[in-house]
């Protein structure tokens, strides 16, 4: 089941309205646009604090044409689970409740409620739009900020810890659906949303969202950066759907390291990494290879 460009064009929803408050080249808006166009007329978004809380509008003006609820930081997945249960009771089970969070909201501050909703198999789709830091409050490091990335809380040598692998953690909750996605591959993301929407229970999508403001690259390069992350193997697109794990088509060629673009092209294009030395990039390359080993192993385990 795929989604085509004409299908997205024909959607009754726009997703994101023009003239919203996001920075130029914002990745969240690309993601929200796809969510709106694929699931907009059935979706209710639950949004904790983050850039998205601002992007959706303020002062009586909304810039999404979807229903959504603002909620306190740690509570997104819990509120979403409650809403989903209420819809079910009311006989409105066609509604799709989506907890749309940043990485701070999903991987750190709201992680307990996210984990709780997953382990209860609550009927929600949780999407973490990962721009790899707390952008809305001024680029503080989160647990998904990569090693060595400079942020305002790691301003000199960069972050000293590694990036948390949120998607595999969610997979280990034994939920029916977990996938990674990227704003560089909107049709892949759209297809994953569509497949996730057909399943009942807890579904998780980890969306990679390069942020020009926080990563220090030109606003025109958001998509280029997202694609580079995949083409260098640094971000792996995969999907687990009720027992079957697959590396997604855009990432498939890059399982072979010789097919990948040089990692340096991705790393050095970002101001937050401008202080890195060749040996740092080699270290990152080894870590990426480790991730690929895990993903390949998961594919082997869940291949039936």
């Amino acid at each position: 089941m795929s989604v085509s460009l004409p299908q997205l064009v024909k959607s009754p929803r726009k997703g994101v309205m023009p003239g919203n408050p996001a920075c130029m080249g914002c990745p969240h808006t690309i993601g929200l646009k796809i969510v709106g166009r694929v699931l907009g007329d059935r979706a209710v978004l639950v949004v904790p604090a983050g850039c998205t809380s601002i992007i959706v509008g303020y002062g009586g003006k909304e810039s999404l044409d979807m229903s959504f609820v603002h909620v306190p930081f740690a509570s997104a997945a819990a509120v979403a689970a409650g809403l989903a249960a209420a819809f079910e009771r009311k006989g409105l089970s066609d509604r799709i409740v989506i907890a749309w969070m940043g990485d701070g909201g999903g991987a750190d501050i709201g992680f307990a409620t996210l984990s709780g909703a997953a382990i209860r198999n609550d009927n929600i789709i949780a999407i973490v739009s990962d721009n790899e830091a707390y952008m809305n409050t001024g680029i503080q490091a989160s647990s998904t900020t990569p090693w060595k990335a400079r942020t305002t809380t790691s301003p000199v040598i960069g972050k000293t810890e590694e990036k948390k692998d949120l998607a595999t953690i969610m997979l280990m909750h034994k939920v029916p659906y977990v996938a990674t996605a990227s704003v560089g591959y909107p049709l892949d993301f759209a297809a994953k949303l569509k497949r996730a929407a057909e399943i009942k229970g807890f579904r998780f999508i980890h969306l990679h969202s390069p942020c020009p403001t926080g990563w220090r690259f030109d606003a025109s390069k958001t998509v280029e950066m997202a694609k580079l992350a995949v083409e260098t193997g640094a971000w792996i697109l995969w999907e687990y759907n009720r027992g079957r794990f697959e590396i997604s088509p855009p990432s498939k060629p890059f399982a072979d390291p010789s097919k990948r673009k040089p990692l340096k092209d991705y790393i050095m294009a970002q101001g937050r990494f401008s202080h890195l030395k060749d040996e740092d990039i080699e270290f990152i390359a080894r870590k990426i290879e480790e991730n690929w080993r895990i993903v390949r192993m998961l594919e082997k385990i869940f291949s039936s």
């Binding site: 997205l8 994101v16 990745p27 810039s63 025109s220």
Partner: protein, 107 residues
Amino acid sequence: MWFRYSASHVRDPLKEAEEDLELFRKRMLSPPMEGAAGPTGTWRIMKPVIHEDKCVKCGMCWLYCPENVVSWEPGRVPSIDMTYCKGCGVCASVCPRKAIEMVVEEV
């Protein structure tokens, strides 16, 4: 607001409840609209210009525009709503034919 319904000075509770609901609709519910952050076209430093002769009508600019200001239908050359286009240049960067040129905005 809740206390209004129980207070002794309330003469027509139903009417007041309706007024409150109207206030709620006006103040608490936000309808989707263009320009929630104003005419964001004024943010622009660079402006996208589509060269129709180079365009192959693939729709990539439509798909990726973070601002949703590109109008496009399959088989058509796209157009851009300059009232809200922020001039980020994503469209130019994703265009496979380099049919979109970013030029300096003049006011």
